[in-house]
Every structure is written in C-alpha cells, then in structure tokens.
Symmetry: C2
Subunit: 425 residues, 2 copies
C-alpha cells in the first residue's frame, strides 16, 4: 500500500510554524503497516493544492492532506478537492449543530462564516472534531479517477492543528482505515523503549537470539535517540503475533533490565507511574541541569502525587544554605564532585522528607571546564532508604542536549535503584 | 526567485526523526527575500532522489537538498546528483585532510569509507563542515539543463544533521548565494519580538501610523506564538532601508514597551543579558510551572552569572519549609492565592540573597480546579528592591502550553519591573 502526505500552508514554508505532522503521522502509519512513501508541503493556494492532490492520487493508494479546512479565505482544501472530484458540497445539519455547541460551551459567539465547516463533499465520511470545529473528511474513491485502470484509493482530509488532528486520527481515522482499507494480511508492530545501553551494544545482545525469528520473517528496527534506543519488532502474515511475542521474550531475557516502556512512553512517565502506584515520593536537587528534571517530571499529569520538592542550587552558597552541603566539601572537592553530589541528594531527601532524591552536579559548558574536570563532567546521586549511590558521567554535547542526556541518565539511575529496592514494574 | 527544498531520508517519512529543516531554512530564506515555494520529502533511494531533484530543477531558480552526504550505503545524494548532471566526482585532498583532522582532534580512528565525503562534482563549490565531516556542495548551473530556455539555477546540497547544516548555511551558503544569486534589488527584513500584547491589539496600535509606509511598499507581518507576537517589516528597492527604519520608529513610539528583542531572541536571553550587564541576581520560586522557568533561564549560556537559586515547591509543606510561607496563609487563602505568591517571592529573595525573585503558583490541570479557582488560574509574584507585585492570570491550555505561557508572563512581569526600577535595556 503506497501512502502520500500533503501538508498545506504557506506558514509552514515560510518557517513560521514547525511542521510536526510528518513526524507524528509517519510514525502512526508505519506502525499500522502503511508507511508514508512521499510527502510534500505546498502553499495554501488553490492551484498548488489542486495540483498536489491530483498528482498524489495518480500514484497512491491512500492520500492524506492536512490543513485548509477552517473558515478563513486561505482555507481552500475542502472546496478545491470537491471541485477536483466533481462532487457537490452538501450542508450537514448535525455538523452545524456540533460546531454551534462548541462555541456555546465556551460562551463565545459563533462567527457566521464557520458555517462552511459543515459542508461535506457528496459521499464523504465526516469525523466530528472533538477539539475544534472543522471536521475531518474521508472519501473512498472506487474507482480513483486519476489512476490508470481505475484502481481504488482513499483520500483523507485532516485539520491542521496537531491537538485536533492527533486524537481524530487515533479515534476516528484508524477505525475508518481498518474498515475501508484493511491490511491484506495480519500485521503486528510493537516498539519497546530502552535506556542505558547504546544502539550497537543492544543489537549485539539481541542479534543471535533473534536470528531464527528474522529467518521466519521478523523485522527488527533500532532507533537511537538522546539517551534512549527504541527496539521495534514488525511481522506480517499468520505467524505475525507469534513472531513478535517470541522476539519480546528474547528482549526480556537478553536486555530486560534496560526496557522501561512501550510505544511513546518516556522515562519521566515511567517514574511518575511507578512511584505513585507504591505511594513513594521524590525530591530533586539540580545544579547543571537547572530545573530540567523537575520540568520533565511535572510535565506528567498526576506528578503532584509523588513529587514533593525540587531545588535548583546553581550557586555554591545555595548548595550550602538550602541543602546543607558542608562548605568544607565544596572547598576540598569542588562543586562538581562525588562527595557534593552525595551531600546534595541526602540533603534534598532530608529537607523534603521524600523517599528518594536525585542530585545532579556538573559542567554544562560551553565555559567552566578544566583538564581534570572537562566540560561535560557530571556526578549524579540517588539517595533512598537503602543508602546513596553516585555515578560519574561524561556528556559532551551542546547545552540543551547535555541537560537532556544528563536527565535521562539520572532518571535511569533512579529507575535501576527502584528495581533493586522495590521490585520490577 | 523560486526556491524549492528537498529533504531526503526514510527516517523522516517513518516518523523516527522530526524534520526541522523546513522550519529553519524556511525562515532564513524568507528573511533573505527568497521564500521556499515547494517542499518535498523523499526516501533515500536513488530513484526517489534523482526524480525529485530533476523535477525541482525543471521549475526552480534555486534547489536545496538536505541529507544523504554521509559515508554509509544509504547516503546516495552526492552520487545521484553527479550522475544526473553528467559530472565527474573528483577527490579533493584538502577536504580529505580536513576530515582526517576532524577524527584526529577527537582521538578517534577515521573509518576508511569516510573518504567518499571528499569527492566533489566537477565545478562545484565545497563548504567545509565545521561541525561534522561531510562538506556541503553548491553548483551554479548556467544553463540549467532541465529548464526550457536553459535558464540559470543554483543547486545546493547540505548535510542532514541540523547542528552541521545551520552554521554552514549562515556562514558559507549565505555568502555564496549573495555572490551567485544577488537580489535583483535591495531587500531589507527585520523582525521584532514583542510580548504582553495580543496580535490584534498590536496590529490596532500600529495600523494607522504604518499606513503611509505601507502605501510606499512596506510589508508588515504579524506572527502570534505562545505569549509572544513577532512583528516583521519587509521592504524592497532603493527606499527599503528608509521604509523599515521608519516602521521601526513607529513600533518604538506606539508599542516600544512591549518589544524585548529582535530576530530569534527569547525573553530568557533578554533577562540573562540585562541582569548580567548590571550585576543583578535572580532567584525563582515555582509551584505549577515545576522548574520550567529555571530550565529556560539555565538554557542560556552565562546564566550562572545572574541566577543564584530556584525552588520547585510542589507541596504545601515545601512552601513553608523552604520559603517560609506561613502555614496560616496556606490554610486561609489556599496555595493558589495572591498572599502565597507574595510570600513565595519574598521568601525566595530572602533565602537566596538575590536582587529579584519571581514566584509562580497556580493550577496547571487537567485536575485540581474549582468554581472559584478554575484550571488555568495563576498568581505570579515579582519581589525586588522596590517591593513586591503580584498579578493574576488565567491560562487555559494543555499542560506544557500552560507552563510555557505562564513562564512568558512571569518573565515579562520581571522585565517590566526591571524597566521601571533600572531603566531601559
């Protein structure tokens, strides 16, 4: 099945808005066994949109467009596609009602021109927008007039804002695709999130044990991110579920301690879930990461159940005053040292009363390094009911990547301590 | 001048890597008066890359490709484009040397296959890569063999990693473009960053005063982001500099207090620069933003000169213990209240000894709201040598947007207090 994506909007080409649709939809569609093979961004002019849709329909089994479904004059996708296909636009009172309700529930007047969003091309399925007003639209073109031989194609029009598009795709488009374009054979895809082992080391651990499964058709993909490696198993056909389950067992046996989640999970989501479920609490004492760990933990809804307090002790004085780090330690070993990391973690645990505390002290750069402690040196402490461990790392990256990578290592150090103290997830 | 962008890489289409090139290059090229009119992403197969380049060259004055210049088997851009243009690839010893030095300075062995990166199509300009190994390449196709009439076109090949591409574009590609494809007339573009006034209110303040300049050819663009509005002035021709300078004066007169920077400046960069220059210091006391403000401030190199300490006092107990917020205040008014915001800011200033302190307390959601204090309610305090101010805001967004918008408001509240206490930037 060939899939093409057309993202519309001059603001995307002028660099005013970051286009995240390829990334998000690309992953979803690949996981459904329908990978995108071609993507184009065009300005929101009638000519460009009509041209791009006709060209994509001449080639692809499935064409998805994003944007241009709103009520303003530069929203022309719905109209141009209806024209291209020679279909009438018909007013759908039920959609009109849902749009009116959207404005009523927010106590805002409904602009008259929003009415165009209730127009639907003849024969199209409409997906009511749960997070905005313009519905998505899907057409089963059977036959597709632009393909030689009149092959059948699907055409799906999605709204531009990610917060509208993403839930619509998951809850409405996927079932429509499953009904209208079911996979010709079983397709199973599962991604596992791992941390603490590099891509080639992970591959080395799994390779020989996976070989017999690969010989039977299993596909294995590795994707390295900052401080993480995704392991993805894909199989097709009657044996698909069997092959992926067997691969999952191999991963569990050979590298289970590095797996922290599936799909889109993050380390911070894992920690919030794990600690909350056991009524355990966390405190954070950060120097060089400057609040990055706290910010990531508090991005997870429900973090307030397990996160008590964080300190960003950037100056030496604040390490002493807030966390009780003895100034003798700072003088003797320096702020970036094993004893200071230990004292920070223990101070944060004591001051907050939390069950566990993480501390981070290091040199983010670009300045501040020395021969003995080069830029990128970090000490990470984890204090808990069984004592305190400190690990040294060397992370030579630009400043934001340094902070993120250090965060990954710190969260993983806590995760491994929790596995040891409290048992598996 | 028509410009087309071709981003190559199957990982982009499969959603493994977020494609930021359109966003970054789109903005740069628009600011040079050479906006991108068409963008395509293709897999890294020979056929797809050759097809996309030939098609783009048949239409555009300038074609830019990204990716596929590395040494592995799926890096085919250089070879396929040389074939397409019928040009030999010639080994350039100077590039070979610079690649060898790259590995030597990192004390890593140079993989033999990296040698292909020193191959350059006949007649191409090579841009030595300052942050990686593969050079960028530029060809002045005069005539362009794929365009009727043999019009002239530029073809530029850039490496895929953003940290390599971005400095290469700014320092090497821009001068090449200026030499080979100079603008046919003067082009001036300046963007001003503003905060504290919505897009339509900003437009309302400027519209009538800018009207005579617009009549003479000035273009005005507004771009609303979370908590910011960019105001962009563009003009062409002999009067270009005059028109943009006059527009700048209008902005200064009508809304100068909302302008905090130019180009890509951020509010946190402004604050780090402003406070450091005056040897003033800052502390942060965050509840609902959970370390976001501290993380943003410490993303700016040099933040350690002005940032002393931050607290993430997520629990009531930590507000009392760390910042000395009286528990009677918490009981009487609740944690999300004007008096608690005031006490947090004053506590952070006192505990850290900083000149200024910001406090934030609010309800990020999705849970935790009430009729009196709905989700999105925030109190922001700024304590300084002249006393403490607290402002209430209502930010109804998803959790990460809530945190970012609240951060914008908090930074802007401090910025305005600094203007009052310490004078303009």
């Amino acid at each position: 099945m060939t899939v093409e994506l057309i993202t519309t909007g001059s603001e995307l080409l002028l660099g005013r808005v970051l286009n995240t649709h390829v990334h998000w939809l690309g992953r979803r569609l690949a996981d459904l066994g329908k990978p995108i093979s071609h993507h184009v961004t065009v300005p929101d002019t009638s000519e460009a949109i009509r041209g791009a849709v006709q060209e994509a329909l001449s080639r692809a089994d499935l064409v998805i467009t994003t944007g241009g479904l709103g009520p303003t004059s530069d929203d022309v996708t719905r109209e141009r596609i209806a024209e291209l296909l020679g279909r009438q636009l018909i007013y759908r009172p039920d959609i009109g009602d849902s749009i009116r309700q959207f404005f009523e529930s927010r106590q805002r007047p409904m602009p008259e021109r929003t009415r165009v969003e209730a127009l639907v091309p003849e024969g199209a399925t409409a997906f009511i927008n749960q997070h905005g007003t313009a519905p998505g639209l899907a057409l089963d073109l059977s036959p597709n007039p632009f393909r030689t031989g009149g092959t059948r194609s699907g055409l799906i029009l999605l709204p531009g804002p990610p917060r509208e598009l993403q839930p619509m795709f998951d809850h409405q488009v996927q079932p429509w695709l499953a009904e209208h374009f079911p996979p010709s054979e079983a397709f199973v895809c599962r991604t596992f999130k791992t941390t603490g082992l590099g891509e080639s080391l992970m591959e080395g651990r799994l390779e020989s044990a996976l070989a017999p499964l690969v010989a039977q058709g299993l596909q294995v993909g590795y994707c390295a991110r900052v401080g993480e490696v995704d392991v993805r198993f894909v199989a097709r056909g009657v044996q698909a579920e069997l092959l992926v389950s067997a691969a999952e067992n191999v991963l569990e046996q050979a590298a289970g301690e590095f797996v922290f989640g599936t799909g889109d999970d993050s380390l911070e989501e894992f920690l919030v879930r794990y600690l909350s479920a056991r009524s355990l609490t966390l405190a954070l004492a950060e120097s060089c990461t400057g609040g990055q760990l706290a910010n990531r933990i508090t991005n997870v809804p429900g973090a307030s159940a397990m996160f008590l307090a964080g300190w960003v002790t950037y100056s030496n004085d604040s390490k002493t005053r807030q966390l009780g780090v003895p100034s003798s330690l700072l003088q003797e070993f320096g702020a970036v040292s094993e004893p200071v990391a230990r004292a920070m973690a223990e101070g944060a645990r004591r001051e907050s009363g939390a069950d566990y505390a993480i501390s981070v002290t290091g040199i983010a750069g670009p300045g501040g390094g020395s021969e003995e402690k080069p830029v990128g040196t970090v000490f990470i402490g984890v204090a808990g009911p069984q004592g305190t461990t400190v690990q040294q790392q060397l992370n030579r990256f630009d400043r934001p990547t340094f902070k993120f990578q250090t965060g990954q290592q710190a969260f993983n150090q806590l995760r491994r301590q929790l596995m040891k103290d409290q048992g598996p997830a």
